[in-house]
């Protein structure tokens, strides 16, 4: 009865034996996307249609975020013209909001790979519809993050001296500097992420090519690299993605470890900590998972992708976030406990500042947002509520941003020479640039949503093909076929 015949297409709904079974199957289907297949053209239409559907509201937000981006680049130009003095930077807080943004955006760039690659390697099936959005969060997060070291430079126009290239001066960049490790790690990670996202995009591009005409057809023809969907192509594609998935995970871990070394390698009290590597990675995944949830909820609503993005996906992300929140708590506790035990004077003064000084409100907000708010995710009601999840994720973004702020400018404010202590307050230019950076990430999403499918439909089909429902006794159970 519910036996699927091999020649039967996977989207065909099986014949229903009785009403109970019908209810059971309907229930399972509503919950699980992969068990709820439908005619592929319907799905393709759902994926492609939003590219054409540009409502007034879309253009309003498009203009808004384009404006933010314009504001960011204008401010940057003014800053280059007049000098970094227009920002609130000062002695001793030589690094401040720009570096906070850098670490933050690198951080949210971690979730994409984690969801897409790590969950793929671990064969977590629910990741399938959300992997594209996650990868794009990674790519856009990294692109924005990579801007900040440049914005932050005193002489941006000399940035190419950081790149090793043979020159008549016979000078190379210094590989002693963690900044250069950073540059290496980030460029590697960015190129890997772009390639990874692109490879997984290929079948969808081919799909789009086949459904479009005009300039879009040409664009997709070029980008699809002549994908035709032969057995060999699929097999190569699978292999490529597998290799990438395995290879990119250590890169991902290394990138934020190396970013943490920018701080941990310095002798600045409060930075000079051996736990920063794993602590930063966990923090990055934490904020990244939150960022992906925010992206998903918005995409789901705005692009009417309720069929693809279901509660099961958000709940899966929520569980992941809860786990990461506990991990973050653990590392933060460690990061505080060890210096506190050492009673080094500068670090002691830093903790006093956190506990009761001028940054105490920020500190307590961070603890609340990062350690207390995510605990609500133990309740299924919160995990399955889209609004609830959105709010929790937003809190996590705020909390993690504050965490970086407390490490970078506040940490720099207290040092070994009490005469040179200082308080950093962001001025208008860096605030505008920071707001613009958030705008840039969203703007890139807006832009890309007009050109590329945000749901990897091929991955969904693949999952749906492999999944089936099997009746064992009275129970209806999902089953999964392994490809060879």
């Amino acid at each position: 009865m519910s036996e699927r015949k091999t020649d039967q297409a996977f989207w065909r709904r099986p014949a229903i034996a009785d009403e109970t079974e019908a209810h059971q199957i309907e229930d399972v289907r509503q919950q699980h996307l992969l068990l709820d297949p439908r005619y592929p053209l319907d799905s393709d239409r759902d994926v492609l249609d939003p590219m054409y559907r540009s409502s007034k509201r879309y253009w309003f937000f498009f203009a808004l975020f384009a404006g933010l981006v314009l504001m960011m680049f204008t401010t940057w130009t003014v800053q280059m013209w007049l000098g970094l003095g227009i920002t609130g930077l000062k002695r001793p807080t030589m690094w401040a909001l720009y570096i906070v943004n850098f670490v933050y955006f690198i951080g949210i760039g971690h979730a994409g790979t984690f969801i897409s690659a790590a969950l793929r390697v671990l064969k977590v099936e629910w990741r399938r519809p959300i992997s594209r959005a996650a990868e794009l969060v990674t790519v856009f997060g990294l692109m924005t993050a990579a801007l900040f070291p440049l914005i932050h430079l005193g002489r941006t126009w000399k940035f190419y001296w950081l790149i090793p290239y043979p020159n008549e001066r016979q000078l190379w960049p210094s590989f002693h500097s963690p900044l250069l490790w950073d540059l290496t790690a980030i460029t590697t990670y960015l190129s890997c992420s772009i390639l990874f996202a692109y490879i997984s995009l290929l079948p969808d591009l081919a799909m789009a090519r086949d459904h479009t005409s005009g300039w879009r057809h040409i664009l997709y023809s070029v980008l699809a690299l002549g994908w035709r969907g032969t057995e060999r192509e699929w097999s190569n594609h699978e292999t490529a993605l597998n290799i990438f998935s395995y290879a990119i995970i250590p890169v991902m871990f290394s990138v934020h470890t190396i970013v943490s070394w920018d701080f941990a390698m310095a002798i600045q009290p409060g930075w000079h900590s051996t736990i920063f590597g794993p602590y930063f990675v966990v923090g990055a995944l934490f904020s990244g998972a939150g960022a992906v949830i925010i992206a998903l909820t918005i995409i789901r609503k705005a692009m009417r992708l309720q069929y693809f993005l279901r509660t099961e996906h958000l709940e899966g992300m929520a569980k992941l976030m809860l786990l990461l929140s506990f991990a973050w708590d653990y590392f933060y506790f460690n990061d505080v406990l060890v210096p506190w035990y050492g009673q080094a004077p500068v670090e002691k003064s830093l903790f006093a500042l956190f506990a009761s000084g001028r940054v105490a409100p920020l500190f307590y907000l961070m603890i609340f947002a990062n350690a207390i708010v995510p605990v609500t995710l133990v309740f299924k009601r919160v995990r399955t509520s889209i609004v609830g999840l959105f709010i929790v994720s937003l809190f996590i973004q705020i909390g993690m941003y504050i965490e970086r702020f407390l490490i970078v400018p506040v940490g720099l404010g207290q040092n070994e020479i009490p005469f040179a202590w200082g308080v950093y307050v962001p001025y208008l230019p860096e605030s505008l640039i920071s707001i613009g950076a958030f705008g840039l990430v969203i703007f890139l999403f807006f832009l890309i949503s007009r050109f590329f499918p945000l749901i990897p439909s091929w991955e969904v089909y693949e999952g749906q093909v492999l999944q089936g429902l099997r009746r064992i006794g009275r129970a209806i159970l999902p089953t999964r076929a392994e490809p060879d």
């Binding site: 001066r169 016979q170 040409i218």
Partner: protein, 178 residues
């Protein structure tokens, strides 16, 4: 057939962009080079060749080169020291005499320029290094119009300094940048 045409067009566009970029880069390099190697117009035409052929050594006029970091431009008085008597009727010399009488310095235009953060000492190179002027300034003795022969860039300096016995010390940043 259509497919091939299309892909050909795509390739053509890509190639076109590539060629334009390369041309722009080459043009930029050429302009910079040309600017650096240009021979500036001097207020009074000064043929070094005449002086050198008359047997005047470089250090007669640029005497500071052995005593100071700067080689020095000779004073108008020094010019007039000889040209009160020699070739007094040429227009160029009359121009020099005019400057002298008005008590105005001749606004010579710098030919070999260094960036402002580079500190070069003629004294060390000429005295301790025992280099002759032609090594860097070219065969000035044959020039009717003084022109730069080398772009005096860091790489150009290093060309010699790499070959020195104490190359590492001579390549220390502080030797030239402070």
């Amino acid at each position: 057939m259509r497919a091939t045409m299309k892909s050909f067009r795509v390739r053509l566009i890509a190639f076109g962009i590539f060629v334009v970029v390369i041309l722009l880069l080459a043009g930029g390099v050429f302009v910079v080079q040309a600017q650096a190697q240009a021979t500036p117009q001097q207020p009074v035409p000064f043929p070094h060749v005449n002086m050198v052929q008359s047997g005047i050594p470089c250090l007669f006029c640029h005497a500071d080169a052995i005593r100071s970091p700067t080689a020095g431009i000779p004073s108008v008085e020094k010019c007039m020291g000889c040209h009160k008597f020699i070739a007094t009727n040429t227009p160029a010399i009359q121009k020099v005499a005019d400057y002298y009488q008005r008590g105005q310095p001749i606004p010579w235009v710098r030919v070999n320029r260094l960036p402002r953060f580079v500190y070069f000492s003629h004294q060390v190179h000429v005295v301790a290094g025992a280099l002759n002027c032609e090594r860097c300034h070219g065969d000035v003795g044959r020039m009717t119009e003084f022109q730069p022969v080398a772009r005096m860039t860091m790489g150009w300096c290093l060309n010699c300094h790499n070959a020195q016995p104490e190359a590492d010390r001579l390549k220390d940043c502080v030797v030239c940048h402070r």
